[in-house]
Amino acid sequence: MSPFTQMRRVGLAVLLLLCALPGAAQELMMVRSPHSFPEAMLTLQSAIGDHGYTLSRVQRVDIGLTGSGFTTDKYRVVFFGKIDEIRMLTSRYPQLIPYLPLHMTIFAEEEETIVVMEDPARMANLVPDPEVAYLFRRWHNDVLSILEQVSQE
């Protein structure tokens, strides 16, 4: 690994730690994107991919609502994850299955967009196993970084 890459990783880790500290008590992770829904959605999808996760599906809640005669703006649920991690966790801890794959809600608010996700670190409440605690922590940090990417100008 080049010194530059190493420095970038350490820098990112410090940055994530700094970002994580104030919001650590909040169990919902939320950001506002200054961009309109289509642009924010594209950024979210690409940020998920950039962090090594697979986007498995997008549920178009707004389509169902408008189809049923209700008025709504763009509203989607994005499912994602890493299949090896999901398989490992669900085989050892089936109680996590209802909470997987990971998912985020993304919805338009006028010309801006909001993204909300339950903190994956909260899954440690379901599985108090130190062996997998690192994984929930990493998911938490990855989600922080993904949301940071989405909230950029």
């Binding site: 010194p3 190493q6 420095m7 350490v10 820098g11 410090v14 700094l18 970002c19 500290l21 104030p22 919001g23 008590a25 169990e27 919902l28 939320m30 950001v31 506002r32 200054p34 697979t54 986007l55 498995s56 599906r57 549920q59 809640v61 169902g64 609502l65 189809g67 049923s68 209700f70 008025t71 709504t72 703006d73 509203y75 649920v77 499912f79 994850g81 299949i83 999901i86 398989r87 669900t90 085989s91 089936p94 109680q95 299955i97 209802p98 909470y99 997987l100 794959p101 998912h103 809600t105 919805f107 338009a108 608010e109 006028e110 801006e112 909001i114 909300v116 996700m117 339950e118 379901l126």
Partner: protein
């Protein structure tokens, strides 16, 4: 050596940023903008940048509001921020009305007749703020779903509000009203200062028996039942039970669908997605963040020859939102899930 120098540099930078004076705008962007909007115009949270609002509240009210939040009314308590950070946030909020003179309310109690105030409150305030001071419905301004009111009338019988608001502030709000919101000047409505004092005294009396929100406790995170049937049979039973509860099955897929090629999907883990759009619409109008539970889903899993049916427990999840109004639909959803799972596995 070079790497160590670089690492030291990064750590020094981090230390400098921790010691530097907090940047209110940055903190606002990090903690508040997502709900209150980048320019304080509101969203999931109420609009803060209203000149009439900033003109009638003092810094102490803003400081305490950030610190204590509004239990059960969406606004969380930011207990992790330092005093310097909260003060920086308050200063940032003030930057939206730079020409306004910042007032400072006295902490002296307003004297009034509580029983007369109760009567006047019922006549003039309860329509918006609720008979027991529980506040209006829904979140703040949700632009995606137009509302009749530009703001959600705040809950006055709320520990956070009663801690943050002085009698003097409440009185001034009643006397002047809040331009840009439905809150009118009570003087303009024909009430006298004595009437207003009585209302303030009644609102303050909420402290003696406050409405307390307690998120559901001792709830299991997961609802789970064993099924005596095969995965396929259980899925069929679920479909029937879901329709029986007036929901629509929208999709059935394996847990790993979308991650692996179709031929390699694991059919021992099947998710049944379903919804009721009327229910979704009602829940979203209370709080747009509730979409985290959507669509409804129940998973059928076969492990070591045992078939289990499981789902999240919305009642357990409701505490995430600090929104008392979601407790009822979340409880209803838990009952729906339990009913469907029981019927499918009986």
């Amino acid at each position: 050596m070079a790497i160590r120098t670089l690492l030291l540099g990064v750590l020094l930078l981090a230390a400098t940023s921790l010691c530097a004076a907090p940047d209110g705008a940055q903190l606002y962007g990090q903690h508040c903008a997502v709900c209150h909007g980048s320019q304080g115009r509101g969203g999931v949270g109420v609009p803060i940048a209203l000149p009439a609002f900033l003109a009638t509240v003092d810094d102490e009210f803003l400081f305490k509001t950030i610190r204590t939040g509004r239990p059960g009314r969406v606004m969380p308590a930011f207990t992790d921020l330092s005093d310097a950070q909260v003060s920086a946030l308050v200063k940032h909020l003030r930057s939206w009305a730079p020409s306004q003179q910042v007032i400072s309310h006295s902490d002296r109690r307003v004297k009034g007749n509580v029983s007369r105030g109760k009567e006047l409150y019922g006549k003039h305030c309860a329509g918006c703020h609720g008979a027991k001071g529980e506040g209006g419905h829904g979140t703040g301004v949700t632009f995606s779903r137009p509302r009749e009111l530009p703001v959600m009338p705040p809950a006055l019988n709320n520990k956070g509000f009663l801690t943050a608001a002085s009698d003097s502030m409440i009185k001034q709000t009643l006397m002047k009203g809040r331009e840009g919101t439905p809150m009118m000047s009570y003087l303009a409505m024909g009430l006298k200062e004595r009437d207003i004092n009585d209302i303030v005294a009644y609102v303050r009396s909420f402290e003696t028996a406050p409405l307390l929100w307690r998120p559901p406790e001792d709830e299991a995170p997961v609802l789970e039942m064993a099924s005596p049937y095969s995965v396929e049979e259980t899925v069929e039973n679920l479909k029937r039970a879901i329709v029986g509860k007036n929901f629509v099955v929208i999709r059935i897929q394996t847990l790993d669908n979308g991650f692996v090629p179709e031929a390699k999907e694991d059919h021992h883990q099947v998710i049944v997605y379903f919804c009721n759009f009327n229910f979704i619409n009602q829940a979203l109008s209370l709080d747009p963040r509730i979409g985290l539970f959507m669509p409804c889903r129940i998973t059928v899993v076969e492990q070591d020859g045992v078939v289990k049916v499981m789902s999240i427990n919305p009642k357990y999840q409701s505490r995430l939102f600090n929104n008392e109004e979601l407790d009822v639909p979340c409880e209803e959803m838990t009952d729906v899930y339990k009913g469907i799972i029981e019927e499918a596995t009986i």
